[in-house]
Symmetry: C2
Subunit: 215 residues, 2 copies
DNA sequence: TAGTGTGAACGCTTTCACAGCG
DNA sequence: CGCTGTGAAAGCGTTCACACTA
């Protein structure tokens, strides 16, 4: 349903989930000194296929040159614009346990695109301390701090039991993009996009495959 | 392609990725004292639909009672068996940075299903220390320690540049299930199953959606 | 009657094949 | 000639609708 602009085609969900990968591969190629890429190479480096790459990129308009491939710099800048990589989306992390602590130090949250803007917890022993250069606030301060820091993305790294209530508060603070690490599915809220990262589930998918090997 | 046994239907990949979620929801329901669930409730609690639940569970054989729903204990034990939750799959983590450290303390790696069996790094300052009660070994010891500890699952939490080489070593040590947190797509290896967890990509999917909102 | 099990319809995703352009 | 852009075909996954049964 999402459209990049009025004249362009809609971008299917499957394509959206691959675009960031292309962006990253293009950065590596540019660092390597290349000027153009073929759909063939881009497919191999991103673990997909040449056909998928061409279909995906055709959503963004005609960016390739027949016979030569895609101009890396031009494609990168178009992708960056579409993905919002040329803007700032301040991030807040709720739940400063092991995982929240590790994510606060994640390099991706240091750059200009996803600046780490706020940290929250309910543990009085953690509130007031600084992690990765950002002070930990009490969860009750969420609405105030989030609006002051213009937080756009909320990361939930609380225990499962607290996740739903934290999501409520994030939404109340005007945040409509949530990355959820808690092992529960949050109830859907209109206008709010939730992406789940679930390590426990991934492990079971692996153990299922091992079991199926007939071992 | 995967089949649960000779007489049963094959299990589609989309179904496999949801089975662990059902297992978790069933545990919560059992703790809550329920004896049966309807596909309706199970669908709501797992964020899918009743139709999907019934289709998914029909792969495992007829486990429901028409008019009454599914017996929670019976379904749980069947799911646990299929997912391999009734066996031990020792886990090794390679790369003891922030993320590796956090994962070593992840509760899911304490239970009997995925016991934390080994930790690896190349930094001499980390080798020899213990994290979460497990000693950190040098990466060069991987093959020896992994076979001694019967490691079944390898978790890669190294920088992107090292991931490919680490995957080579894991496979050389006989490990065929890899959970990859490094921001690269590993080259496919025959007989090896890789699941990628990519926080950076998830963030960009969120920022894409924010951008599309017309802001 | 309440709720499963399932074929059939639908929609989305990938693959194929090739026309068309630099 | 090489490689993109794209319709058409094939493959998957989800939704629908309902027969069937405890």
């Amino acid at each position: 349903v999402a459209r990049t602009s009025d004249h362009d085609r809609p971008v299917p969900a499957a394509t959206v989930s691959r675009l960031p990968l292309y962006l990253r591969v293009l950065e590596a190629l540019a660092d390597g000194g290349s000027a153009t890429v073929s759909s063939d190479l881009l497919g191999e480096l991103s673990g997909t296929s040449a056909a998928i790459v061409r279909k995906d990129l055709s959503c963004l308009g005609s960016l390739g040159t027949r016979g030569a491939g895609y101009d890396i710099a031009a494609l990168h800048s178009r992708l960056a614009k579409i993905l919002g990589a040329d803007r700032a989306w301040p991030v807040a992390i709720v739940g400063m346990g092991n995982l929240g602590h590790a994510l606060a130090n994640y390099p991706g949250l240091r750059g200009p695109t996803f600046p780490l803007a706020a940290l929250f917890d309910v543990d009085p022993a953690k509130v007031g301390r600084a992690v990765a250069g950002v002070a930990v606030s009490h969860l009750d301060e969420l609405e105030r701090v989030a609006s002051k820091e213009k937080v756009a993305v909320g990361i939930v790294t609380t225990p499962a039991a607290a996740a739903e209530e934290v999501a409520n508060r994030l939404v109340a603070a005007g945040i409509r993009s949530i990355l959820n690490f808690a092992p529960v599915r949050l109830t859907p809220r209109p206008g709010v996009v939730v992406r789940d990262v679930d390590v426990g589930m991934e492990l079971f998918v692996l153990s299922f495959n091992e079991t199926m090997r007939g071992s």
